[in-house]
Amino acid sequence: MKVAYWPGCVSRGFTPELHGSMAKVAPLLDIELVELDRGSCCGAGVIAEHNQELADTLNARTFALAQQVDGAELMMNICSTCQGAQSECQERLDANAEYRSQVNSTLAGEGLSYERGLTNKNFLWLLVEEIGLERLRAQVKQPLTNLKVGPFYGCYIVRPRNRLGIDEEHPRDHYLEMLIEALGGTVIKYAGMRKCCGFPIITMNKEASLKQAGRHLGDAADADADCLVTPCPLCHLNLDLQQPLAERAVGRELRMPVLHLPQLVGLALGLAPSELGMSRHVVRPSSVIDWSAAVVAAAA
């Protein structure tokens, strides 16, 4: 399937391994990525905090670019924060024709216009809803047997439920568990799996921010997880990049590897940890690399 692909900023900045692993995994799943390289930052809620119309217009521009991609079935993102921030803007744009036309008049100079009703799905939602877990299961080359994976959703992809379309038919707040199981792994449940990583207040209240990250990592370690997996690169920054500082904030050693979603999928599809950029993490995913080496050795 062909998708208008929105990678976001952080996947091309401080988490290049996310963008890289998505590019490796997509062809294995027959996903054709048409990158929206002209789109701008979603604003992560911060631009909306400054000026709501500005955030809505910048995202409407990205949506309009996505709607211009010939033959694309939908827009796909790989960042929960983009999903949340863009969904909020889209909610306003779709709800009111007068407002939408005002926003479109700002875009008119560039010849762009956003038409209501774009479908914008995070890679996680696309995996479950478009590709389907059955099909995915059939494509698994290296089942994640005995790998104990803790899901870490973060906030923007699970709340608010109404806006994100979470209901009985679409239990999107359980997709990570369903996916880990489909890939053959063991799901580790722990207290912080749907809590906040603390990233949004890292510059405002660093101690509270790092305590949040540290507690969830500690809970996952206590539940005996080998690693976490997250669909959000901003969560990844607080949980991985900041983990040495989070350890100090909570006064304990954590050493919890955190994988990006496409990395976990890539492993199960038979890619090696090195191909998926795992050497670039601050917390070296030794448990995952050892697991992968053992599986490859056993198969040889």
């Binding site: 000026n51 217009t57 809803e129």
Partner: protein, 406 residues
């Protein structure tokens, strides 16, 4: 409804969290099975258990119709009013069919399901000066408030002080001093009221406080927890917006600097330049920000993470020193959007709580393909917020008499 009333009583098992701090004993779980019609509330089940099996079960309640806010608890781990949760619904979300009821979080337990609202919730409410400070001299005749403005603050006036948002607040979980969602929503009730004369003072106070408006971690927990659609986080975000964009309030918490740095980096590059965002948030919004003492201090304290990131080639010096950008023509388009919107005399905001959504949105959502983005026509649209500024909207849909304080 008539149909549900005809359903006969059936057994429901409650698992109650019991704790008496004066006993010196640890908290424990206590199970009771009651017989009630499925449409009855969890509160009725608790009261039946108390009447029939154990008179010592502690629960606070009064109106039993979701108005007084007394019976806030956690049902199956989620915040709820016990009187506003049907037994069949609670059983449906329960593990193994047993309905778990616990006291609210972030507040000390007085006994069983009763928490100390005075120690946390009410103390924080008092912190935000929860009364009107009118313009002087007070007009002799009634003060007529524009309808939109009244509907707008009505959203925060809908709060029944149940504490569900306080219970679930993830910032308070690690930082109990955070003023918190309920009190900050209450604050907007006066910040957004055109009759109040102290908007600047109120916002300045909450911006300077290290545990004020900038201590919210944007997790949407309070939005989900609220049984009355008050949208506390949205009220916090709009107070940040009015404080920084309208009053240009500077604060010691990097709130204004962070927002300014983020917004201008996206203006310049189209994308966020993370390596520049952090030092500017601490040191000031310019290329020189990183050389300010506050930025240097932050850099030093983050060294363990920075060194590891460099060693692992997660961050390369080249990538850190050079922004990633969109093509020049697109940067120009983005900048022109900034110019147009920031050049407006008044910020334009669409508050769906006031205007509602277009009538065809809900039906369009139904027609949309399976799983099409949920944002299309989401039924509850009250999350967005506006200040009392101009809205781009047609006639307000809400009800208000346009004049009075309630």
């Amino acid at each position: 409804m008539a149909e549900t009333r005809e359903r006969p009583p059936e057994p429901f098992t409650l698992r109650l969290r019991r704790y008496d701090p004066s006993s010196g004993e640890a908290p424990y779980w206590d199970e009771h099975t009651v017989e009630l019609e499925p449409h009855r509330s969890v509160l009725e089940a608790i009261l039946q258990a108390r009447d029939r099996f154990d008179g010592s079960i502690g629960i606070r309640c009064s109106c039993r119709q979701a108005i007084c806010g007394s019976c806030g608890v956690r049902i199956n781990g989620e915040p709820a009013l016990a009187c506003h949760t049907h037994l069949d619904e609670a059983k449906g979300s329960a593990r193994g069919g047993v309905i778990e009821v616990e006291p609210m979080g972030n507040m000390p337990v007085l006994k069983d399901l009763i928490v100390d609202m005075d120690a946390v919730h009410w103390k924080k409410i008092r912190r935000v000066t929860p009364w009107l400070l009118p313009k002087q001299p007070v007009p002799e005749r009634e003060y007529l408030v524009p309808r939109e403005a009244m509907v707008d603050v009505t959203q925060t006036m809908a709060c029944i002080q149940c504490g569900a948002c306080v219970s679930d607040c993830l910032s308070m979980e690690v930082d109990p001093g955070f003023i918190g969602p309920a009190a900050l929503a209450k604050s907007y009730r006066f910040v957004g009221d055109p009759r109040d004369d102290e908007q600047y003072t109120r916002l300045n106070d909450l911006a300077q406080d290290p545990q004020g408006i900038f201590d919210c971690t944007h997790c949407f927990k309070c939005v989900e927890a609220c049984p009355k659609d008050v949208n506390p986080m949205g009220q916090i975000m709009r107070q940040r917006r009015i404080a920084t964009s309208d009053h240009h309030i500077k604060d010691p918490n990097n709130g204004k600097r962070h927002e300014a740095a983020f917004t201008s980096l996206v203006r310049d590059n189209g994308l966020l330049w993370e390596a520049e965002l952090l030092p500017r948030s601490y040191g000031g919004n310019s290329w020189w920000g990183k050389f300010a003492p506050a930025a240097g201090k932050e850099l030093l304290s983050s060294l363990p993470a920075i060194v590891k990131a460099l060693l692992r080639r997660k961050v390369t010096p080249g990538a850190a020193l050079k922004p990633h950008r969109i093509p020049p023509a697109d940067r120009k388009s983005v900048q022109s959007i900034y110019d147009t919107i920031e050049g407006r005399e008044k910020r334009v905001e669409l508050n769906l709580y006031i205007v509602g959504e277009d009538e065809d949105v809900a039906s369009a959502a139904k027609e949309a393909t399976d799983g099409a983005t949920a944002t299309v026509g989401a039924p509850s649209a009250a999350d967005t917020a506006t200040g009392p500024e101009e809205t781009a909207a047609p006639e307000p849909a809400g009800e208000s008499d346009g004049g009075g304080e309630q």
